[in-house]
């Protein structure tokens, strides 16, 4: 019997040693959000302020907008905080979410190598820039992951009347990954890419990449927040989830968002209750 005893003793000892640490936060909500909000560092700044105020911890699962909406659709999060208005409205229409509010915006920027083979630096017209990239067949790294950024990028290619599907794998490369990995790829390839400004400002491995085109009205990037529909998923923490949405859109929450800066430069601009531009 000694083997059984030993095994039992070992199992008991391990289980005791591996117990979760005491005092773990009990009250929390799960938020499905995008890599841009997490990798820009916004959440590290914003969420502790909310938790201090309400005692509600926020667990963020940061993925692309497409996957974040899918997580909400399956009821695996309480709140969805993403940036692609078209798919958000579809999500609401299908009854997966309720109470959508626009919280803040930032903008996309066209990043590229400093040698700038397509000669884009200083331009203000993003569609013209995309046309020049295609004409020069200069390497372009696309997210290719159904994220909000990719959807914005695809709309710009459509505006430029360029069928990138047909050239995928040639000068147009789909990385199938988040903004950071795509920027890593662009740095390695000397490729152009479209990034949200927040992730770019917080990104460390820039190599010889720089912002080449910015400031076009079509580069506007709106973030929206929604509660997962509790009628569809009874497990949704309605009160605490709504408390988070209310705080984000309150004067206090909006001020906190505006206060997040890197090198003195704000990353996100609160715009709850303001008419869309």
């Amino acid at each position: 019997m000694s083997i059984v005893h030993r095994a039992a003793w070992l199992a008991a000892a391990l289980l005791v040693a591996l117990r979760p640490a005491a005092g773990a936060e009990e009250r929390f909500i799960t938020v499905a959000s995008t890599t841009s909000t997490e990798q820009s560092g916004l959440f590290d700044f914003l969420l502790p302020a909310f938790t201090r105020k309400t005692g509600i911890a926020v667990r963020v699962v940061a993925v692309g907008t497409g996957q974040a909406l899918k997580i909400g659709e399956r009821g695996d999060a309480d709140v969805v905080f993403v940036h692609d208005k078209a798919s958000e409205l579809k999500f609401l229409d299908a009854g997966y979410g309720v109470d959508r509010r626009e919280v803040m915006y930032n903008d996309f920027v066209l990043i590229g190598p400093k040698p700038d083979p397509a000669k884009l630096a200083g331009g203000k017209d993003i569609v013209a820039a995309f046309k020049k990239i295609a004409a020069a067949k200069a390497p372009f790294a696309s997210r290719g992951d159904d994220s909000g950024t990719e959807k914005a990028e695809k709309r710009l290619w459509a505006d430029a009347a360029i069928d990138v599907k047909a050239v995928s794998g040639t000068w147009y490369r789909e990385t199938g990954s988040g903004m950071g990995p795509t920027l890593n790829t662009a740095a390695g390839l000397g490729a152009y890419t479209l990034s949200d400004r927040g992730t770019w400002l917080n990104f460390k491995n820039r190599g010889d990449l720089a912002i080449l085109v910015e400031g076009d009205r079509r580069l506007f990037n709106q973030y929206g927040v929604m509660l997962v529909n509790p009628a569809r998923h009874p497990g949704v923490k309605v009160a605490d989830g709504r408390a988070f949405i209310d705080w984000l859109t309150s004067p206090d929450g909006q001020r906190t968002i505006a206060g997040y800066k890197i090198n003195g430069e704000p990353l996100f601009f609160p715009d709850y209750g303001k008419p869309a531009s």
């Binding site: 083997i3 059984v4 095994a7 199992a11 391990l14 289980l15 591996l18 979760p20 640490a21 799960t30 890599t35 990798q39 590290d44 667990r59 963020v60 699962v61 940061a62 659709e73 399956r74 009821g75 695996d76 988040g178 903004m179 950071g180 990995p181 920027l183 890593n184 740095a187 917080n202 990104f203 460390k204 491995n205 820039r206 998923h233 497990g235």
Partner: protein, 234 residues
């Protein structure tokens, strides 16, 4: 070169400064991987032993499938377990998605075939030598399994360590079922993936060095315990 130098500097800094965030991540990684390996051993060792001594139609096919399961892609395992544990899935009401529990389930799923398949091979070899003496003592295959497992413990420890290696190095499955939530489900490997995403390659590689050191330490402790046990028995 700057990144490589920076990696060693940041690894040394993290270890020396005993950064509490890093400590939390290290403890969580150990807790998840060791619990998963424990579960896998409790299932895989008896299962492998039983498969080694049992004879039944279709046994050959079961052995092939079990061996193939050692190569189960972690990202597929993660996806399967995500669909099972999701609120919209069959086990959704337990609400363990995006918790360490879900990550333990995923890693145990990946490690159990490794432990079971390696155990099956080890015990089958041993069973060749033991069958006749044990039978003459009146012990059938079922009663022989505990004896076989105990006598093969040194080889089986290696099988379990191989399982631990798989668990602690794995990122695809736990990223999906854990969600890489800061302070809740962020482990060494998911933190490395995140820092790589942020372009902080020195910090990512520094975390990698810490992880390798940890794996080395776990194996060293296991070997030391094995030697101590061997001496104690003489």
């Amino acid at each position: 070169m700057g990144d490589l130098g920076g990696a060693f500097a940041s690894a040394a800094h993290m270890i020396l400064a005993r950064d509490p965030a890093l400590l939390g991540i290290v403890l969580l990684s150990l807790r998840i991987s060791l619990t998963a390996v424990l579960c896998a051993a409790l299932i895989g060792l008896p299962l492998g032993g039983a498969l080694a001594v049992a004879r039944f139609p279709g046994r050959g096919a079961v052995v092939v499938v079990l061996d193939a399961m050692m190569g189960f892609p972690p990202v597929v395992a993660g996806l399967l377990i995500y669909l099972l544990l999701s609120r919209a899935g069959p086990l959704g009401r337990f609400g363990i998605l995006f918790t360490p529990g879900a990550m333990i389930v995923a890693q145990a799923f990946l490690v159990t075939p490794i432990v079971a398949a390696l155990t099956r091979q080890v015990i089958e070899d041993l069973w060749q030598d033991y069958r006749d003496p044990l039978r003459s003592l009146g012990a059938g295959p079922a009663r022989a399994i505990p004896t076989l497992l105990w006598d093969a413990r040194v080889s089986l420890a290696t099988a379990v360590l191989a399982g631990f290696g798989r668990a602690s190095a794995e990122v695809g499955a736990i990223m999906i079922v854990g969600g890489n939530i800061a302070g809740v489900t962020r482990t060494m490997t998911t933190a490395i993936a995140l820092e790589t995403s942020k372009g902080d390659l020195a910090l990512a590689l520094g975390l990698g060095i810490v992880l390798l050191t940890l794996t080395l330490a776990v194996n060293a402790v296991a070997h030391a315990a094995g030697h101590a046990a061997a001496r104690g028995l003489r």
